[in-house]
Symmetry: C2
Subunit: 649 residues, 2 copies
Amino acid sequence: MIERVTPEIDAGRFPAKRSVGEDVLVEADVFCDGHDVLAAEIRFRRAQDRDWLDAPMAHVENDRWQGRFPVTDLGRYRFTVRGWVDRFASWRRDFGRKVEAGQDVSVDILTGAELVERAIRRGKGGVGRELRRFCTLVKDGDVDAALDDELAALVARAPDRSEAVTYERELEVLVDPPDARFSTWYELFPRSTAPTPGRHGTFKDVEARLGYVEDLGFDVLYLPPIHPIGHTNRKGPNNTSHAGQRDPGSPWGIGSGEGGHKAVHPDLGTIEDFDHLVATARDRHGIEVALDVAFQCSPDHPYVKTNPEWFKHRPDGTVQFAENPPKRYEDIYPLDFESESWRELWDELKSVVEFWIGHGVRIFRVDNPHTKPFRFWEWLIGEVKRDHPEIVFLSEAFTRPKVMYRLAKAGFTQSYTYFAWRNTKHDLIEYLTELTRTEVREYFRPNLWPNTPDILNEYLQLGGRPAFMNRLVLAATLGASYGIYGPAFELMEHEPIRPGSEEYLHSEKYEIRHWDLDRDDSLAPFIARVNRIRRENAALQSNERLWFLPIDNDQLIAYTKFTEDRDNVIVMVVNLDPGHTQSGWLGLPLADLGLDPSGSFQVHDLLTDARFLWEGEHNFVELNPHVVPAHVFRIRHHVRNEHDFEYYL
Amino acid sequence: MIERVTPEIDAGRFPAKRSVGEDVLVEADVFCDGHDVLAAEIRFRRAQDRDWLDAPMAHVENDRWQGRFPVTDLGRYRFTVRGWVDRFASWRRDFGRKVEAGQDVSVDILTGAELVERAIRRGKGGVGRELRRFCTLVKDGDVDAALDDELAALVARAPDRSEAVTYERELEVLVDPPDARFSTWYELFPRSTAPTPGRHGTFKDVEARLGYVEDLGFDVLYLPPIHPIGHTNRKGPNNTSHAGQRDPGSPWGIGSGEGGHKAVHPDLGTIEDFDHLVATARDRHGIEVALDVAFQCSPDHPYVKTNPEWFKHRPDGTVQFAENPPKRYEDIYPLDFESESWRELWDELKSVVEFWIGHGVRIFRVDNPHTKPFRFWEWLIGEVKRDHPEIVFLSEAFTRPKVMYRLAKAGFTQSYTYFAWRNTKHDLIEYLTELTRTEVREYFRPNLWPNTPDILNEYLQLGGRPAFMNRLVLAATLGASYGIYGPAFELMEHEPIRPGSEEYLHSEKYEIRHWDLDRDDSLAPFIARVNRIRRENAALQSNERLWFLPIDNDQLIAYTKFTEDRDNVIVMVVNLDPGHTQSGWLGLPLADLGLDPSGSFQVHDLLTDARFLWEGEHNFVELNPHVVPAHVFRIRHHVRNEHDFEYYL
């Protein structure tokens, strides 16, 4: 019997996700009636291949078996589990017990000889010759030969899988590029990148900003929509209903007489400028330019005229604008994904993604996917990734948990999270535990953002510089992928449009801003340091092995991330109180982290370069938020003592 | 989207189990993209019916929906979940918000009118007429009419399921007779029921014992195998290897020249005597006679000669006897379920069960099912229950947990458990929580036995009368089904064959015993009282709603069971220490149990008839094991005070 195979999502309906170079750890309950010895293995292959490969599984405990196989190529893999009764191993175990008990085994040994003969018939080449030698001895009643480890190993090389059972389902793994797992995002509004105040920024200005973004340590530069912006019902500064003549409008009000989703806003430059930006970012700065996919239209979008059947119409014949009553978004027409012309619409939207892939874009941030059908996304992402398995889609769904998880199952590579609203120790531990220790981790890759153009949470509004610093450390070390919306973040922009709102005052969504990147108090150097720590420490590049640690102060949160081989062990302590120094006793599970629980060891604070000698499992920490509100320790090694000297050994 | 439907076992591979008259509580995650209002329902039918019935589901929280359907007939039911967007309810909610915000709704109301018109086209008879009246008003712009609750109710009576989604799997529920859920078992060896010492007991003697068993409150009388016993390698008293001429041998060494699995042991009487026993037990005493199904043979079983191909043969031509090296069971030949003649063997074994069903037996206890293939049991039980859905099979598998659970999934109605080895508070809570609060409860019905002919645990060996009393209370109140092996239990037989063994000294498995049922210290009256309490209190007749309660003493275990309507609330406190009086403060979640948390209430100890007035959530208890080691309280009612008098109201 083979049961409870993991990873398996919704009875195999959806693939688990991994990135190139990772192993897939497979577990299963494997057992049979009676007391026979079993063997089990994983069968796996790339989806496009015909032949299965095998990887061994081993018994862990309580009939649970474990094995792993590597995924080296982008795309889909299939796997299942196979198990069988190992007749020779069963016989050998029982035979050994009888010999030990001094029982007459003269008949039993003949059963063993018969099993060896069968192995000879199954085996090939050299194994058969060795087996024949053993077989003669066993037939002659040579008990030692029958129990010889070498014989067991030889028989195991010609396993009898004739009665093998294969798990009833084949399961899938979707293998994404490495930056699906580990990525560091920076969002900026191209319109605000001009060096001179008041001028509309361009792709060339963004290009000039690439060195800054690279110095900060980001490898994905995400741009809000770069398309022409509609004029009808355009929003003015601070989301007022009517824009003035010079107000640029929201980039999400896509489409005008100048084009739609496949055009660029003339004020940003030309498509050639964009191509140049993408190539320069990738080739000179190691940065991927990510675009926004916002499948919605301004009333001036060409689709409204060319394909009115793609929109819902009200009984008075007007097109239905977006609304979430009583809120009205009159500058936005939603597309009707379930109209009678849905197939043409879907194909057109796919061609939009393919258009930008053609212009070198490999990463897309998808706006509000939860207001479009799940089956559309499953189809679109499936289609795109079939030809382009290197593409990454980030789901910007801030909605109910099950909807967010289903979008991830449907194919999104990464997902925004509730991180911005998880600011207490309890909430952070509970949420990150759900994301990294439950089945969710198999398909939902969190991308943690302390702020976005839509979310300036109260913690940042009120907490000052320490709040920005500790939220950055939390995002960057709790998640293998995280991002910030800058320069608002590094310049600690924190004024809301009004008390109680999470909208920025003078939001870039509705107006051009000019940012002074050279401000003395900019967090840029701190961010650069944190991102360098992420690049240099493999433990922070995966969401595996995030363990929260005990610390006796509810304003301090502590956790460790470490590589499977314990070569890289990082310990974070963050002071969540932006106002006061907090201290406490930190508990470290030293044995689990590969250290002697009773010894001394050195910890190195990668943020400040300070080094401390610690001893045993409990050590004292204190964090003044006005200096640095966090420790990011690397555990260096145990501290030498006389036992390390050669003459003492 | 419809996900995570429960009960669903292994993606629908196995049915969930219920008994006649119960409800099936169905839950599912039901959600869609966007913000529309949804509706959902259960679709269910008896497996043999064509038409589905519907039962409504309601939203609980976090996109989880819940509903229930009744199972009134034995056999299999099928069910699934269906959900759809409720267009009218969605429109109505948004329309109401717009009205409230004072927005112009002159166009929106027309959309509503259109939805009402569609409902008219779908609806039948009287509803249409009422709807037409509303439709005219709504078309005329009557906002109050559009939002009228009556209109909403009318439209809901003609739901638009044209875009409904049905869950991708149909799931099954196996409906068993009520005694699959609630049963009280007594095991005895017929050979030991003769009124005169030394004589071999008979079916007639067992018949004479029925009144005693009924007085004790048992409704299932389980008899170890009643077939002829082999002579070759017959075991002697205390499991010695060679039996004397007059030694009766183990009833599990089935088969001799006098017949096999369809014959009765001549010393017990005739098949007619057996038929009379079964009929008398059922008709006069309300007791079902349960037989042992032990699919194995003595070397003298007729099958060994008539069907040698059903047995494994050793290289020297002898039949392979049972063994678990180095242990040898030379009086037993196991059947080979995977021989080339397996089909004939399986059919023969099925005919054995059918033979005894033909003789009125409805309940079978199956010996060591874990040493036979799972697929054999799935086939056998499936075949038998297709024609006889009233049959109950109890699995006697004491083996690894996953094997026990798989046997239950494969079809066993009830299962033996590890209860005999769970004697501490921690172990009892952990195990019963696993059995009653995890998915296990959907398919595994525990039958708790404090002792069996194979298991005299050390707690009973050493704990004296208090140990027997508290283990009985635990078994009878933790499990809806439990059983004892008597008269060994009520006469507190506690001598093992040797220290460290769980085998009885002078076990009835190998010799005839004579029991003095009239002994002054017999626990019979206590057992009768406990069983009467079980019959009179519905809370104890189901494994639903077992809650462990806090009590500040690790030697005291406390728990409650209650009916869904809280009409019957029973609270148990058991002193696990057989040597000393123990006391502690018991915590009761009064609000959850339907009582005023700050009020007073009466508790009635059903074991001693004592009544206590308690107040609030914490009350003191003390149990002297040498008097009665347990409380079985029924919470009676709140205590009257002046507020209950009419003139005070």
